[in-house]
Amino acid sequence: MELLLDSLFNGVAIGSVLLVAALGLAIVFGLMGVINLAHGELMMLGAYTTYVTQLIFKLPLLKPFYNSYIIVSIFLAFIVSGVVGILLEKTIIRKLYGSPLETLLATWGVSLILQQFVRSVPLAYGTGLVISLIIGLFLPSTFPSKIKESINFKYFKFSSWIFAALTGVLTGSLISSSVSKLSRASARNVDVTAPSWMRGQVEIIGTAFPKTRLMIIVITLISVIAITLFLNQSAWGMRIRAVTQNRQMSDCLGISTEKVDIITFGIGSGLAGVAGVAVSLLGSVGPNVGGNYIVGCFMVVVLGGVGNLLGTVLASFGIGIMTDLIGAGRLLSIWPDMPLPLSNTINFFATTSMARVMIFALIVIFLQFKPTGLFPQKGRMVEN
């Protein structure tokens, strides 16, 4: 019984990391049909945001609030990744709607650039750049509508970008001068240390669980609930679902599909940032951290059925539990005296990397029977 509970918890812990990472992808890929291979790098940005926030909270001014930096960084990571995602949508992806393979290649290019960016640009100036992006993208929309409708609006836009750039440079050099760790570019991995209240273990029904794992489960839970509520209860959520079902009809009925695209992509990317916070709690953060998750995320989304959040949830926990069962060789401890060839096979797959082999193979076999995942979308199109 205890063993089963152990396995279940480990599985849920693995699955929740997968889920929070795949959630953003489920939105971007599932609802918009956009293949974003830079999703992993958006996660990486979220993880680096956590790192930067942590260092900034060590400054004397913010020291008293140090323990809450992880909460703050969740919101910051959402904003940072979301803004980078919006920029990506506005500049590249928008031109490529309807040609998914091209999107795939272009976003791979973006992911390479982002990886090299964190390697060769000091994080302080990277922060400055992101801040100026945030201001530049959002300041114009806060102007009163009178200005927006005037002919000179583009001057306002232009000057707000200049203001944004100046602020970015200022904050960049400010951070760079006050936090020495951020002032030099480095390709080395960095470590996020959890605040004291998150270290140690909690005992639940006789088994000890690390608190960081619990924190990740909580983050995942909140993200899933928030995104479900947003999609099903809010007006924009309704518009997003409408555009997903029938883009042209929604356009005819007066929904701004352009805005819907930006919001959907922004939220999906933002969720990648939140996933980055979770990932940063698990191990060290490096430029390649996103690449470890991206294929797994796609498998989760495909397995769950594209455009279905429930499917994504079930698929990630299913994969998580299976990974634990296979990777830790738990079947052996449940059934110790099984015949030799079988136990040999199980031992063969009882490592992390071999468990991955097994899981992917199982998914491919599963897709032989249900090619469209657990919860397929219904339709009568030839193309589907």
Binding site: I35, L105, W108, Q116, V295, S353
Partner: protein, 376 residues
């Protein structure tokens, strides 16, 4: 008039070939060994690019897993080389086995004692694996991005398997070939490398003619039909699954040959050949060169890799930026690649922009229809 329609004089074609062959023969004397070796490697990579062009450029299947077949070919060659030069090691098995305490050769190594078997294995094993993966995927009408994701997942499966199995194939360290013997000669030696360069050059030309033959005629037309409108091909009475499986396994076989040639020239085969970035890079060679133009794939592979080594020598950090920029640029600005742009309307449009050539005016609806057709 577009370039593709220009009929070259037979004499020009002949002299082109003579110059090319002369260059290939003379290359080892002109180039220093290091550069020759690099050129040989890049030429061998252009064979896998030809395969990518066949499946992506002509059939519309974007595979992100060509690294599997590339590495399989490389492993076949390396296993043969290791096993034939293992006579002085304990138990007559390759040296690395001793590190892990393995005393008996794993069963799947046995057939690689035979050079004939290896010769066929290098391209048949990758082709069979590709055919199997392809058949399983195509049978379910999985296509487009789902196909790409599944091939990428398979790539990870193979990578993790080869990476984790120290006792079978030396895991993450890979198999070295440069200190092994082939027909009494050291594989890494200068004279052997020269021979490998010539073999590679000949095989690239052979592969090019083979690919040209494949896409010619009815078979090629069906491939293009599948790319442009698969349901229509199906409704016309063809079974796309068969054609896709065949072309995918052809590409796999080409990748295997390419991998074997690359392995003997780079001196090692390792699971690094099966990493995700490498397989996507193969796609970008084709995309830059011009998908749907076989020559473009070859030129793209050679030139991009050459540029990569030049840039990485001068400014190591900037190659990732350049490569990322290339991906974005090619997709957004040059979807047909460089060669496709030259062969298509590119130069004419450029001349028009500078007012050097008169615009061709057709009935507007023709152009609109054309655009709609392309959007699919």
């Amino acid at each position: 008039m577009s370039l593709s329609k220009i009929k070259f004089d037979k004499k020009i074609v002949l002299s082109f070939w003579i110059i090319l062959i002369a260059l290939i023969i003379a290359a080892p004397t002109i180039l220093p060994v290091f550069r020759l070796n690099l050129l040989g490697r890049y030429l061998s990579l252009s064979i896998v690019a030809l395969g990518v062009d066949l499946i992506w450029g002509y059939t519309g299947l974007l595979s992100l897993g060509q690294g599997i077949f590339f590495a399989l070919g490389g492993y076949c060659a390396a296993m043969y080389l290791q096993i034939t030069s293992s006579s002085e090691f304990p138990n007559n098995i390759p040296e690395f086995f001793a590190l892990y305490g393995v005393e008996k050769l794993p069963f799947f190594w046995e057939p690689f004692r035979s050079p004939v078997f290896t010769f066929f294995a290098i391209w048949i094993i990758p082709a069979l694996v590709a055919g199997l993966i392809g058949f399983l995927v195509f049978r379910n009408r999985i296509k487009g991005v789902y196909f790409s994701i599944l091939t990428q997942a398979s790539l990870l499966v193979f990578f993790n398997f080869f990476n984790g199995q120290q006792k079978l194939i030396n895991g993450t360290n890979g198999l070295k070939t440069d200190v092994t013997q082939l027909f009494g000669q050291m594989v890494g030696s200068e004279s052997m490398q020269r021979i490998f360069f010539w073999i590679t050059a000949i095989l690239v030309i052979a592969a090019w003619f083979f690919a040209k033959w494949v896409v010619k005629g009815r078979f090629g037309n069906i491939l293009i039909g599948i790319r442009d409108d698969e349901p229509r091909v199906r409704f016309t009475g063809y079974n796309p699954v068969i054609f896709k499986t065949i072309i995918f396994s052809i590409a796999g076989g080409l990748a295997g040959i390419s991998g074997a040639l690359y392995t003997v020239q780079s001196g090692i085969v390792s699971p690094q050949f099966m990493t995700v970035p490498f397989s996507i890079e193969m796609v970008i060679w084709v995309a830059v060169g011009g998908r749907g133009t076989l020559l473009g794939a070859i030129l793209g592979a050679v030139f991009i890799n050459y540029a990569k080594s030049l840039v990485s020598e001068a400014l190591p950090a900037s190659w990732m930026f350049i490569q990322g920029g290339l991906f974005i640029l090619v997709v957004t600005a040059l979807p047909e690649g460089v060669l496709g742009w030259i062969q298509g309307d590119g130069p004419r449009n450029l001349l028009q922009r500078f007012g050097l050539k008169r615009k061709i005016e057709t009935y507007p609806s023709l152009e609109v229809n054309n655009k709609e057709g392309n959007n699919e």
